[in-house]
């Protein structure tokens, strides 16, 4: 067993860099690029239709962004805020919890756009629509609403 301490580098005045990196240059474009890469990978599977590919993109995107933004709590490094952010999901840490910032609006709009594209490409098929809408509302929209800030339903994922 090894003993190693990470340098959170030289003494930092920012207690948790996790809240501000989403303001960096080019990160929105990178997010969209990742969605496109995932979509192309799914599209290249030979035996599924375009509508199903888009629905899969929508579902996979909602699932992965849910895990990234609303499931994992705390930061992947030890921040200097003495544990204040340990119980906060990444969404709650973004921009220090301030609501209606540009980042948050962007992260709300992107799943919606993916959903609209998926319904269009699946030709408004009922089953696809229900699946996409459910995953959009439950996994992407609801956790991002201000009314759900720091709410943990049934104590799931509280600590």
């Amino acid at each position: 067993q090894s003993k190693q301490a990470m340098q959170v580098g030289t003494a930092h005045s920012d207690p948790n860099p996790n809240h501000i990196y989403f303001n960096s240059r080019g990160i929105w474009m990178t997010y969209i690029i990742f969605i496109l890469i995932a979509h192309f990978i799914i599209l290249s599977i030979p035996f599924i239709s375009v509508g199903l590919a888009w629905t899969l993109t929508c579902q996979v995107h909602n699932f992965i962004t849910y895990l990234w933004l609303h499931w994992e709590k705390g930061a992947p490094f030890e921040p200097l805020d003495q544990g204040e952010s340990r119980t906060l999901t990444h969404w709650e840490q973004l921009d220090d919890g301030v609501q209606f910032t540009a980042n948050k609006k962007f992260l709300l709009v992107v799943p919606t756009v993916v959903f609209l594209l998926a319904t269009f490409y699946s030709r408004y098929d009922q089953i696809h629509f229900i699946a996409n809408a459910l995953s959009l509302v439950v996994l992407s929209i609801a956790p991002k609403l201000p009314m759900f800030y720091r709410v943990r339903l049934f104590g799931i994922n509280k600590w």
């Binding site: 190693q4 990470m6 580098g9 990178t30 994992e72 709590k73 705390g74 992947p76 490094f77």
Partner: protein, 558 residues
């Protein structure tokens, strides 16, 4: 040339930023996958785990908090904490380590590597094992012993400390000074003695964590302003004065502006003349942390106050450390008699912590004396200051010409060179070490996510040959790693900075022994006018006979 023109921070190229993010995401994805394999027994688990009997307890640490350490840092941790076996002067010897299991553990084959040292804060080259400073430290150990065993206020006040305080006050140009054994504690534990609840602290966003901790410990209202943005400082000052405290709207008792002289992560210099003008206009106080600039900047080495030609009495609290330029440890606060008398009574660090050990105090006193020309070989202080200045400008100019992105001010001895991508951080550290250059590399979360960098600390101990060799190594490595991202031409000030210029500058100091110069024990020429924004590289005090000789020599040589 104004400060703005000599400083630059070229922004990250767009495509490079995107590739950097993709790199971090890939690392995160692989990290999660490997964690999954380790936690479910598919892979040998070398992580420290809690013993079985505490499995049902609330965990002490979140597993996720060590994600970065485990999956990113651990893989490349041979780039940090390298053990050295000689004095960290211009060169040092590193003990070689090899990791057979990708960073979980190290083996020591017993060999050593000699490398050029660009990682130590050794600005004036006082990290040496012989010379007047080392002799003085040894003599002090024989007189006083190693430790002191008591706080200053009880039985730990040596006459060495009083002498050091007088020396510091004279060097910096203040009325009096007080010293502390720890630089971090100087900031963190003295701010609460100066301000308290009902006051306001205006702090730069890139301030060191000792200043942040000190500000928090005071209980005052903290407002953070954008880095070096004077308009922002003024706006926040006006808000503080007009609106007063929260809720009660009572006026603040004191407003303290806290800045650093040189910011070590960026290499930027604070806008001191504008800040002094602001503080006079709005009747605020100014706290200047010169940890990285005292001894390293200014024509006489007296810090940014000297560099801008300002009056040290205009800065209310002059703080600095002995760690960087003087080869010691500890810090000082200099200012008016009244301020220092208050700190002697009220400082937490001075009353409860043990005082500065005698050998360290002797080392620092001798270093100051050397800089003022009263100890060591004649003209040594001036030589070291000049060497640092020449090294800094020559190194920076050479790097600009290579085409890498270099941050910071022309005269800042801290030189950040941008790396950006996470994989290249380790590659740069390892490749430069292979070629005999020891550097410090930093990445996220110590720096912003798209601004990982290698940081070079120049020293007066480095010779021009060492700098040439280092630039050659950096050229090789950055070509290999495709790190030459700069799209701008080298800045205008690099035009005349060549090896010939550097040698001519150094010869100038060797040739003339200034009889009245500040580096030979005389007073620092004080400008009677209000300080301007322009650095005084072309302005001299005309009454100084030695400076006249200097100018004549330059005219004759050119």
């Amino acid at each position: 040339m104004s400060v703005e023109h000599e400083e630059q921070f070229e922004p990250t190229p767009y495509v490079v930023a995107i590739i950097t993010y993709i790199g971090y995401v890939m690392l995160a994805v692989f990290g999660h996958m490997r964690d999954f394999l380790r936690n479910h027994g598919f892979e040998k688990n070398l992580i420290a785990t809690e013993p079985a009997r505490t499995k049902d307890f609330v965990p002490l640490y979140q597993n996720f908090e060590s994600f970065y350490t485990r999956n990113l840092y651990r893989r490349i941790r041979d780039c940090w904490n390298r053990p050295i076996r000689t004095c960290p002067g211009a060169e040092f010897e590193l003990i070689d380590r090899k990791s057979p299991d990708h960073g979980w553990s190290f083996e020591y084959p017993g060999t050593h590597t000699r490398a050029i040292n660009f990682g130590s804060y050794n600005y004036l080259g006082f990290a040496e094992t012989d010379g007047p400073c080392a002799d003085a430290a040894a003599a002090a150990t024989e007189t006083f012993g190693c430790g002191v065993g008591s706080p200053r206020a009880e039985a730990g006040n040596l006459d060495l400390h009083t002498r050091l305080e007088a020396t510091v006050a004279e060097f910096v140009g203040a009325e009096d000074a007080i010293i502390f054994p720890m630089g971090f504690a100087t900031n963190a534990l003295n701010m609460p003695a100066l301000i308290g609840k009902g006051c306001c602290v205006l702090s730069d966003e890139l301030n060191h964590s000792s200043l942040v901790l000190g500000a928090r410990l005071t209980g005052a209202k903290i407002k953070v302003f954008r880095h070096n943005d004077i308009a922002d400082v003024e706006a926040k000052l006006r808000d503080a004065i007009v609106y007063g405290q929260d809720r009660t709207r009572r006026p603040f008792k004191k407003i303290l502006i806290v800045v650093e002289g040189v910011y070590s992560m960026e290499g930027s210099v604070t806008r001191l003349p504008e800040l002094i003008a602001l503080k006079k206009k709005y009747k605020a106080y100014l706290y200047l942390d010169e940890a990285h600039s005292i001894g390293a900047m200014g024509p006489h080495g007296r810090g940014v106050v000297d560099y801008f030609g300002c009056d040290p009495r205009d800065v209310d609290v002059l703080m600095g450390t002995f760690t960087k330029s003087f080869g010691g440890a500890g810090g000082y606060i200099a200012g008016s008699q009244h301020l220092v008398a208050l700190l002697r009574q009220r400082s937490h660090s001075g009353l409860y912590g043990a005082s500065l050990p005698a050998p360290v105090a002797a080392q620092v006193v001798t270093a100051f004396q050397m800089l003022m020309g009263r100890a060591g070989p004649p003209g040594e202080g001036a030589r070291r200051l000049k060497q640092l200045e020449v090294n800094t400008q020559y190194f920076r100019a050479s790097l600009h010409r290579l085409g890498v992105i270099v941050y910071g001010h022309r005269t800042s001895p801290v030189v950040p060179v941008m790396i950006f991508m996470p994989g290249k951080i380790a590659a740069f550290g390892r490749e430069t070490l292979k070629r005999g250059l020891g550097t410090v590399v930093v990445g996220y979360p110590a720096t912003p996510i798209i601004e990982s960098r290698a940081r070079f600390c120049l020293s007066a101990a480095h010779s021009l040959d060492i700098i040439d060799r280092s630039v050659q190594i950096i050229d090789e490595v950055t070509s290999l790693l495709l790190m030459k991202y700069s799209r701008r031409p080298p800045p205008a000030w690099t035009a005349g900075i060549t090896r010939e210029w550097a040698e001519a500058q150094l010869k100038l100091v060797d040739q003339q022994r200034r009889p009245h110069g500040a580096a030979n024990g005389g007073p620092v020429p004080r400008r009677p006018v209000e300080c301007r924004g322009d650095p005084p590289d072309k302005v001299a005090d005309e009454n100084d006979a030695a400076v006249k000789d200097n100018l004549a020599a330059v005219a004759a040589a050119s």
